[in-house]
Structure formats: C-alpha cells, structure tokens
C-alpha cells in the first residue's frame, strides 16, 4: 500500500493533459516574450524600480504558477463529475493523500513554469546572483499556498462545465489586480486593494532581484491571512461536497 504510486501517476496524468500545458506554460512564456521582448532595454518599468524583463518575468511566473497550482486542485471537479472520487472513496486512499497529490502536482507544474520563464528571462538579459534567485523562488512558492487552497475549493464547488470560466475568471482577476501585467505604484483604491491580495505579493517577490526586501511584515501578513482563509474555504467546500455524496 503506497500513496507514492498514486501521487506519481497523478503527476503523469497531469503532464499528459495538453490544455494544462498550454495555460500554465506555453501561454505565459509566449506572453512574456511578446511583452518584455520589445522593452528589453527598459531599466525602470513605470517607476517600479525594476527592469522590464525582470518585472515581466516575475509577473508571468506569478501568473503561470498561479494557474498551475489553482488548476491542480480544480482538477477535482472533473473527477467528481464523472464519479471517480466516489470510486476512490471506496479505497483505503485517505482524503489527505488525495488532496496532497493534487497540491503536489500543481507545485510541480509551477516548478516547470518557473524554470522555463527563468530561462526566457536570462535570454532577455535578466541577471542576478543565484542566492537571490533562490530566495525569489522560495517567496513565490510561499505566495502560492493560498492558490492551492483556492484550487481545492473551486474543485469541490464547480462542475466540469462551469470550471473553465470560473478558473479563468478568478485567476485573471487576481493576476490583473495583483500587477502581473503592469506595475502597481503610487496610491489610491486599487493600490490598497492590490496590497491586500496574495497575487500582488507573488509579483513583488521580484524585488529580491534588485537587492531589496520583497515583502516585509505587510506581505507576510497578507499571504499568511489568505493561506488560512483559503485552507478554511477548501475544508468547507470539501465537507459540503462529501456530505451530499
């Protein structure tokens, strides 16, 4: 009896799914090259203090990983719709192992997304010490925790039919308001709103690249708060769904 086999095949299954690849990998890389390519020489993007290639690299890593991690959990919706998780509920597989396989798969896809976009970034002239790069990746992985919970919640609340629009809509809003597509600077309502979103801090991880502290207390507080809230939402959605059977 081993849940490692289950997790391994879950990953294999995900990597065989073409749509998953397109949205969490090919789309962000293409967008990166299209947006950052022509602005290669821009050293300080819209007052953010970060060069365009670095800013968009982190921005699109943020987008790609967010989609990957959220979609990882949202795959539960497809399995619920065809009755597969009823079948799994008759096996000794524990819910915890089932969900962690989903999260792990999302993170692995996110890892691939990070590597591919980093390579593209280097191609466009992004340079930083390895230590900073690793620190940046670590912050990104932490900022993805709320999205893992969100994916599980979405997976239990939506059906296959409504999943696409729900997933696309929610991740787009978070990406847009969080500054994936353009730097959020200055002050005002949208800036305050952005500061309260985990996607904003995901993108802010890029500040490490220029030697600054990326998050500070505010960032850690927001990311922790969202992590807890999304974990609660995931647990609630799971219970609501399994009660009905």
């Amino acid at each position: 009896m081993s849940t490692a086999t289950y997790a391994r095949y879950e990953v294999l299954r995900t990597f065989r799914n073409k749509r998953f690849f397109i949205f969490s990998l090919i789309f962000p890389v293409t967008m990166y090259l299209l947006i950052a390519g022509p602005n290669k020489g821009e050293g300080d993007l819209a007052g953010s203090g970060i060069s365009a290639p670095l800013y968009y690299m982190v921005g699109l890593i943020g987008f790609g990983t967010m989609v990957a991690v959220t979609a990882g959990g949202a795959r539960i919706a497809a399995e619920r719709t065809v009755g597969w998780n009823r079948q799994l509920r008759l096996t000794p597989l524990m819910t915890r192992s089932y969900l962690s396989a989903k999260v792990m798969t999302g993170y692995l896809m996110a890892g691939v997304s990070i590597v591919v976009l980093s390579v593209a970034g280097v191609g466009l002239g992004v340079r930083m010490p390895v230590g900073r790069w690793l620190e940046m990746v670590a912050l990104i992985l932490v900022a993805l925790i709320p999205f893992a919970g969100m994916g599980i919640a979405i997976g239990h609340l939506f059906t296959t039919d409504s999943l696409g629009p729900a997933l696309g809509g929610i991740t787009s809003i978070f990406a847009f308001l969080g500054g994936t597509w353009f730097p959020i600077t200055g002050s005002g309502f949208f800036v305050d709103l952005a500061h309260a979103l985990p996607s904003y801090w995901l993108v802010q991880a890029g500040h490490v690249g220029i030697g600054g502290s990326a998050w500070g207390a505010e960032g850690w507080l927001v990311v922790t708060g969202w992590s807890i809230a999304m974990a609660v939402a995931a647990a609630w959605a799971y219970r609501r769904d399994t009660k009905r059977v």
Partner: protein, 320 residues
Amino acid sequence: MTTTTITQTDAPPEAGITITGLEKTFRGPGGPVRAVRGVDLHITPGETVALLGPNGAGKTTTIDMMLGLLPPDAGGVSLFGMTPQAAVAAGAIGAMLQTGQLIMDLTVREIIVVMGSLYPHPLPVDEVLDLTGMAPLARRRTQKLSGGQSQRLRFALALVANPDLLVLDEPTVAMDVEARRSFWATMRRFTARGTTVVFATHYLEEADEFADRVVLMAHGRIVADGPSTEIKARVGMRTIRATLPEASTAALEALPGVASADRRGAAVVLTSADSDRALRALLRAHPQARDIEITGAGLEEAFLEITGQDDPEDEEAVAA
C-alpha cells in the same frame, strides 16, 4: 459481593455482513420517497448473494449505505465486525458502482496499477488483465475504450483490490449477451477463492445462475430470501392463456405443473412455474384448447404478485 467483570472487549469480531433495520428516505419533488424501509440481512463469509429487484426497489440505496457512501436514517451496517468506513480503510472492499466513469490520461495497465497500489494485498496486475480479458488493451488510454471495455476495466479495478467483499451494482447493465456470459465466467473463476460477493441485478437469470442465495427486494423491503431455485419458483411464474370453454377450473388446477387456474369467459388463465410441463399436460387432457398464449411474468409482475397484499404506502415508494 466481590468483583464481577463484565467487560467483553475481547469478543471476536462478528464474521460476515450484518445489516439491521436499515432505512433511508429521500426528499423527492413529489414528497418524501422511502427508498429503503427496514432491511435486515446477514451474509456469511464466502456467500454469493444476489439482490434482485426491479428499478426503484432500493437495491442501489441499500448498497450505497452498505459501503458507507450514504448515511442511513436508521439502522446499521457491520462489515466483518467493522463499520463500512473502517472496512474500506482496511482495504477489505472492492466495488463496481452502477454509475461512474474512468479518469483520463492513463492507460488501462496504469489505472489498474494505481488502484492496486492503494490496497494492502492487491492481485498481480497481469493476473487481473488476463482474468478480465483486458490484456490486449493494456496500453490503451482509458478515454479510447468502448462502453463495454470501460465496464470490464471498472470490473478489473474492483478485482485488483483482492477484497474480502466484492460489491457489484448492476455490473452487466450495458453489456450484450456475449459480454455478459464472459463476465460471469470471470466472476466464477474469481469467487472460487472464497470472496464474499453481493451483486444487484434485475435479471432473474443472472441471479439464478450465479448466486447461492437470492434476496428479493421490492419497494424498499426484502420480500423473499432464499436459495435461487426457491425464488425462481416464486417469481418465475408464466401465464398460459387458452380458449377452452368446457373445462372446469378444478380439473385444470389438478394438471401437473399448473399452480392456479382462472376462468375469464370462454378463456382460461393458468399460472405455472413450469410452463412447458403445464402446456403438455393441458394439450394432452384438452387437445381442443386453442388461441394459446404464454407470457412470462416479468419480474415487475412477479413482484406485484408477491407484494400485492402489502400496505397501501407502497405507491409512494415506487415513485423513485
């Protein structure tokens, strides 16, 4: 007065499957539907039991509660001395549910490997592939299987668990005659190991041929329970109708194989568990009988026969 120990924690776990006072009511659009209305059942290890009944008899609801997928409103289930949840966690259950498709992006072999990996004592994957005839399709992706092949694969997923209790809910429902025959042949080979099997069906022939024991369900209750031959005699009734104005019903009832005789004007209606025998006797005694019609009472009619004198609440229950 000295010590009298009354702790019985060391009592051996009860063997087999015990269902007591099981009840379930669903809220339907036309009011409550009492799908299961007090089911009691004991199954000893190694038995093959058919739950036979028409649609809406409560078979699937009973199975879902037996597996712990649905909480009962009243009553309880013990599987080998455990709750359904504990038995599932222990890997003692293999099941093929009525509904449910397979996940995509894995091959036939891979999905069997994954399922097997979740159980403590799985069957070897190759053995399962051979047993279910899936070996030639082992490398095919699940989304490229036909309906019948998917059904066989779902059966393979229940077998790889190598369970103590195998539960099959209408396993042959979408199969043609040939597929059905090979399915039961596989089952026979598998149950030779002593696995306890419970399957739901609405085919009397399947229950008769394959089960040691048939539990007949109608309107959420068990209406008969016994060896398949006994049940077959009760529900396998056929009706012979013939135009025969001159014969007395008493004489007709005395014919071999005839269970009852009725007169409807010029016609007589005979019921029989062995219509071949009854018909031969009828023609020998009354060669002038004409317009002969034989109708096999469907399960549905047979159930009505058995449960005909039941309480008036029955109508609401069938609505499911």
